[in-house]
């Protein structure tokens, strides 16, 4: 089964336009101006989708699609947005009417989102009546989707309002065969879906190795919570990472593929890591030794992450010494994006999140931005049968 990457660009644009249309519908209904913050298409397991809703309460609607494109959309408002919308449309009304207002808003917005796809495909896409949903994490997801291990494409949009607290997410999860059929005939630039899946698995393995390296060095028990490969307009990358403050390292890697890698810890996690590595009181926010410890951890995690690519591809990938960073996520990514945007409009963003087991108190994000055209080449050359050769024992070589 082949995927045309150029078609993904088109469909990413359609998803963005659809999200914009949904945002405009909401503005018309409530009078609140909203804008699309980010839209991307990600390859992930349904289990990883849970992360979209972990930690916060959401409510919204689920709508099933039929006809030329089958699957489902989830349009969810965070608690503050739900309250503002219901308060605007159904003030003083009983709970069931307020809930109905959310259903109807969701219905109208989803139609706005889907219409562009139908127009592009010059066909009709049927939408089911909305099903109200609320909760967090797996509660929000379809039970069937959460149980599957098969990787799926997910179109994700985040819409925000500057003036009011209106944040909502649209997730569009088309059924795989239906999407591939919709993407149309493939050309020379296409890659097999299997290779995309395998590369995503290799990346997950790299993230697991990086998590293991954290554990070995610090004693903190960590695990990879989420792993996804997104295809995103390059200019959207900083917004994708968001304005949360991070401490970590940035590195450039060269070879096949070349690109950039950022390893970012949130403030408490960075402090936990440094306390474990440099167990002595130091003056100032980040002493030289503390920065050196973070850089060395970044260095070791980077190797854990990218060595698997090199070993499977029987190539060599060099990386620069790590640069220490302490800033908002978007500010850390902006200079990287500025350099990459000279040669590409879209990027593959490989995003893995590492947490401590259970409590989620520890948060580390690994963000890899490989050169898009080089990654396409890598995917074409990837030998699926070598995919498990990510690790090499030096004693077998020496």
């Amino acid at each position: 089964m082949q995927i045309d990457i150029d078609s993904l660009e088109t469909y990413n644009t359609l998803a963005r336009d659809g999200a914009q249309s949904a945002a405009e519908s909401l503005s018309q209904l409530t009078g609140i101006d909203t804008h699309v913050e980010v839209t991307n298409v990600s390859l992930m397991t349904p289990g990883d989708l849970e992360y979209e809703y972990v930690g916060s309460e959401f409510s919204g609607v689920r709508i099933e699609l039929g006809g030329a494109l089958t699957g489902e959309t989830l349009l969810t408002f965070d608690e503050a947005a739900r309250s503002v919308i219901a308060g605007t449309l159904a003030p003083e009304e009983p709970t069931d009417i307020r809930r109905s207002s959310i259903e109807e808003v969701g219905n109208i917005m989803t139609s706005g989102f889907i219409d562009g796809w139908a127009d592009h495909l010059q066909t009709t896409i049927d939408i089911s009546p909305p099903t109200f949903l609320s909760g967090s994490g797996a509660d929000v997801l379809a039970a069937s989707a959460a149980a599957e291990d098969e990787q799926v494409f997910v179109f994700r949009s985040r819409v925000e309002s500057a003036a009011e607290s209106i944040d909502f997410h649209i997730l569009f999860v088309p059924e795989r065969d239906s999407l591939i059929e919709a993407l149309g005939p493939t050309g020379e630039e296409s890659v097999s879906f299997e290779k995309l899946e395998v590369f995503n698995e290799m990346t997950k393995h790299g993230a697991e190795q990086a998590a293991e390296n954290i554990t070995t060095m610090t004693g903190l028990e960590t695990d990879v919570e989420v792993n996804r490969m997104s295809f995103v307009p390059i200019d959207d990358v900083p917004a994708t990472v968001g304005d949360r403050r991070y401490i970590g390292t940035v590195m450039e890697y060269t070879g096949k593929p070349s690109g950039y890698l950022a390893i970012l810890f949130d403030q408490p996690s960075a402090e936990a890591v440094v306390d474990a590595l440099v167990p002595m009181e130091t003056e100032g926010e980040w002493s030289e030794m503390e920065q050196s410890a973070v850089k060395e951890l970044g260095n070791i995690m980077t190797s854990g992450f990218i060595d698997g690519w090199a070993n499977v591809l029987e190539s060599s990938i060099d990386h620069s010494p790590p640069e220490f960073v302490s800033d908002m996520g978007s500010s850390i990514m902006s200079p990287i994006v500025g350099r990459m945007a000279r040669t590409q409009e879209h990027a593959f963003l490989l995003d893995s999140m590492i947490h401590t087991d259970g409590d989620g108190a520890f948060h580390c994000e690994i963000l890899a931005l490989p050169d898009e055209s080089e990654l396409r080449e890598v995917l074409r050359e990837l030998l699926v049968e070598r995919a498990d050769r990510t690790q090499v024992d030096p004693s077998e070589v020496f």
């Binding site: 030794m289 850089k295 060595d307 090199a310 990938i317 060099d318 090499v392 030096p394």
Partner: protein
Amino acid sequence: MDVLIADDSEFMRSLLREILEGEYSIVDEAENGVEAIELYDEYDPDLVMMDIVMPIRDGIEATDEITDTDPGAKVIMCTSVGQEQKMKSAIQAGAEGYITKPFQKPSVLDEIENVVAG
């Protein structure tokens, strides 16, 4: 036995120093490949613990130059890089051992023992 440590990370140099002190004599520490070559010429150590990813000149280039000048030099790569092609490049450059970070004290001492024993 005299050991030269070459690693751009102050943190990693301090870890290695902790592991090696008491067992061996550390003659000096280099922060990049060029310094490693200069300090090797100056001290003629029995062993070099060499990182790969370093600024100015990397550890494989430095190893290549050191073993060109002194074919009897003993170098152990001590690196985060776990790529097969890099390991082969290290062998070509003249390295006799390879330790991947993160490491534990016994694995470092075992590798040194193996390399020194030839």
